[in-house]
């Protein structure tokens, strides 16, 4: 009997941890309402916003001593996995960052998000940049669900240059055409005896979205019907309503990249650099130019690199290129349906509109979605305005297929699951490494696969969505599209 007893003791010991867990986890859930202080939880997946959130929350808690905001930074790479688990487990935080993989119709269909119509009143709506309130991205069936954190123009591809290197090697004017750029790069490589290259880009698979965006952005100067957009529905020619990747613009841009590589203008580490490595090489003067997104500006500033300037990407003949803005929100917050503290959440969201936006600009991270928040702020660094101006010029309001039919979101999402997972950045990798010899054929094949997936998805929507939802005959590229 004694042996059995001691064994039982062992078992109890073994699972005492588990038991301890039960009791104390119950404590933690009730902690929020203890002492009359409400705790609201917030998941952020944008590391560049971390500091802005911190300062905003600190000020907010000072003004609202009864509310505590608990900020969690979730690694971007695992955000979708974490959201999936949280939704399955009914563990969503009160406020969380939007990710396009889990679309608004999906989330409202599961009844897990709360609309924020009483925060974003009709009067408030008008303060935001044109196009901010668009179906499928920020609103659904006329209700607002997402509070944008940054300007919808966020993430525009542009060119950054190292002023010192350009001066040193006698590059007087910033190249506007492909030929000018190629020559500048060649000059720098030759004069520096191979120590400095013309261009570094981030072309590693994990950063291929960057080269993908740069290719599509530059291609619009040749074939404007297919534009790029970081968070929207991209790659579709909205004149025909079909995906189109084998345009002359995209093919020629790919070939231009190869030319840059063959002429020692492209830094040899480009295709294995992620976004941070390419910035690091640029900051260290290993390349005179880098093509990157808007957010690079704030990072250069944070890293203490000062001697840079920004310009639009060069194009074939120096003609302007553009990127589409479809009302998608590159970063925004959703509210959980199950929040126990909706009143406090509302207070906090209002505070974001009034203070977070200003902090965002003051920190030099990005321009806010409300233009007036930019007024009267001190420039965080000298080039900030320059970057913002380029961004505002390049982003042009473009057709949004969800506007005409919200059900198109499901179709696009379903199609995306079946479409090839590679983007043009991956294809560029294959092209430069010699794995793809016939670029035209590859792009044609990709176009066909994308269109097949789209057609299939439209078919399986049982007539709720038609091909015409993706066709906008009244749209003219380069002209802001205001809808029908």
């Amino acid at each position: 009997m004694r042996k059995l007893f001691s064994l039982a003791m062992g078992m109890i010991l073994l699972f005492s941890l588990v038991l301890a867990g039960c009791s104390s986890s119950a404590d933690s859930s009730s902690q929020s309402s203890a002492g009359g202080k409400a705790t609201i939880t917030l998941w952020n997946r944008w590391p560049e916003l971390n500091d802005v959130f911190k300062t905003t929350i600190a000020d907010f808690e000072k003004e609202n001593p009864k509310i505590h905001v608990k900020l969690t930074n979730v690694p971007a790479d695992q955000y979708v996995a974490q959201l999936q688990a949280a939704i399955q487990g009914n563990q969503l935080p009160d406020i969380f960052g939007f990710n396009p993989s889990l679309s608004l119709p999906q989330l409202t269909g599961l009844d897990v998000i709360h609309d924020i119509d009483d925060v974003i009143t009709d009067q408030k709506k008008t303060q935001f940049v044109d196009g901010t309130w668009s179906e499928g991205f920020t609103t659904l069936n006329g209700k607002v669900y997402q509070l944008p954190l940054m300007s919808g123009y966020h993430y525009t591809n542009m060119m950054f240059y190292n002023k010192k290197i350009l001066n040193q090697y006698g590059i007087k004017s910033i190249p506007k055409t492909w030929d000018e750029f190629l020559n500048a790069g060649k000059t720098i490589y030759e004069k520096s005896q191979g120590k400095i290259y013309g261009l570094i880009v981030a072309g590693k698979s994990s950063a291929s979205y960057e080269t993908n965006g740069e290719i599509m952005s530059m291609a619009t100067a040749i074939s404007p019907e297919v534009f790029w957009n970081s968070g929207g529905v991209t790659g579709i020619n909205y004149k025909t309503g079909k995906y189109d990747f084998d345009t002359p613009g995209i093919i020629q841009t790919m070939q231009y990249f190869k030319k840059l590589k063959d002429n020692n203008v492209l830094h040899p580490n480009s295709m294995q650099s992620d976004d941070m490595q390419s910035k690091g090489l640029f900051e260290n003067g290993k390349a005179a130019f880098t093509w990157d997104g808007t957010m690079a500006a704030g990072i250069f500033n944070n890293d203490g690199f000062k001697d840079w300037g920004a310009a639009p990407l060069p194009t074939k003949d120096g003609k302007p290129s553009y990127e589409g803005f479809q009302g998608e929100s590159p970063a925004g917050l959703l509210v959980s349906k199950n929040t126990k503290h909706y009143k406090e959440v509302k207070t906090f969201l209002n505070y974001i509109i009034d203070h977070f936006y200003k902090n965002l600009a003051t920190d030099g991270v990005e321009e806010p979605p409300i233009q007036s928040a930019m007024e009267g702020i001190k420039q965080p660094y000298p080039q900030f305005q320059q970057v913002v101006d380029i961004q505002d010029k390049i982003k042009i309001l473009a057709p949004n297929p969800y506007e005409s039919n919200v059900k198109a979101i499901d179709v696009v999402n379903n199609a995306q699951g079946k479409q090839p997972q590679d983007d043009l950045g991956n294809i560029l990798q294959g092209y430069l490494s010699g794995q793809i010899s016939n670029i035209k054929e590859t792009l044609k094949d990709r176009t066909a696969k994308f269109n097949k997936a789209l057609t299939d998805a439209i078919k399986s929507s049982n007539g709720k969505v038609s091909a015409s939802n993706f066709k906008f005959s009244d749209w003219t590229p380069f002209k802001p599209y205001k809808g029908n």
Partner: protein, 321 residues
Amino acid sequence: MSEPLLSNQKPRVKLNTSKRRHRRYYWAYLFITPQFILFVGLTIFPIVMSYVYSFYQWSGIGPLENFIKWENYKELFHDTKFWHDFLHSLEYMVGQTVIVMPLALIMAILFNESKIKGKTFYRTLYFLPVVTSTAIIGIVMANIFGNKDALVNNLLQTFHIIKHPIHWLDNPTLAMTVMIIVGSWKFFGIVMIYWLAGLQSISADIYEAAKIDGANFFSTLWYITLPILKPISAVILLLTVVNGLHVFDLVKTLTDGGPYFSTETIDLFIYNYAFASDGIPRMGYASSAGILFGIFVFLLSIGIGWLIKKAGQDEKVKGKS
């Protein structure tokens, strides 16, 4: 008082063997109960669920509603990317196994020599890569095998072995080679330990006897050490193969499958579909890929298991003769 009495009753216990045996059974069942609970609840159930997912079109959230029978599997059979990735996993596994198995054995034989001083130091040195998280190794190695201003190319250029830097990670074959080298480096220490364990199970008497017979180092190795190691080598082979087929962290951080998916393995394929950061995640499709690949790994393991059995029997036959 009663203690000595009890021990005197030993014969009675022996007589009552059947009762004693049953008692032992109860204890045995009691002993495996905790494992059984963990096993059923936290291993079997999740695995079974992933089999269920593979028959659904499911994004990972919401109820399982869209039952699509064998559609995921059918699609998978026609997915060239899946088969390419399958091949990459095999390539990697074969490469790593071929490099690690013999080299680790050589090192283990060296360290098994009792004469070498500082064994602990060396073992720790060569074991270091095993204990490090792969995330950081991928980043470090990407810098060592870079094209420009990177260690390997600079060394080769300094010694005039190459004129122009080799673009290691830009070339499909070279990128896979680098992956295999780095993976082998990371896994080497654990295999070395396995071999060392095998070597230490050989008693010193056998070596003494060989020495008396006048056998030199190599004939001892060939005629004594290697035959004795045969059964354990099959086990090590199995462990190395299974490890090689499930390479994930290293690919993710070192090449992320590039250039143009030429180093993407099945585990990365599954991850990309299950937790896609653009487009809708396809948990069902990812599950079916995992299961199909799992069946292959299982069959392969059975083959190696058969080898283990055969090697064991050979030993027994030899021992008898």
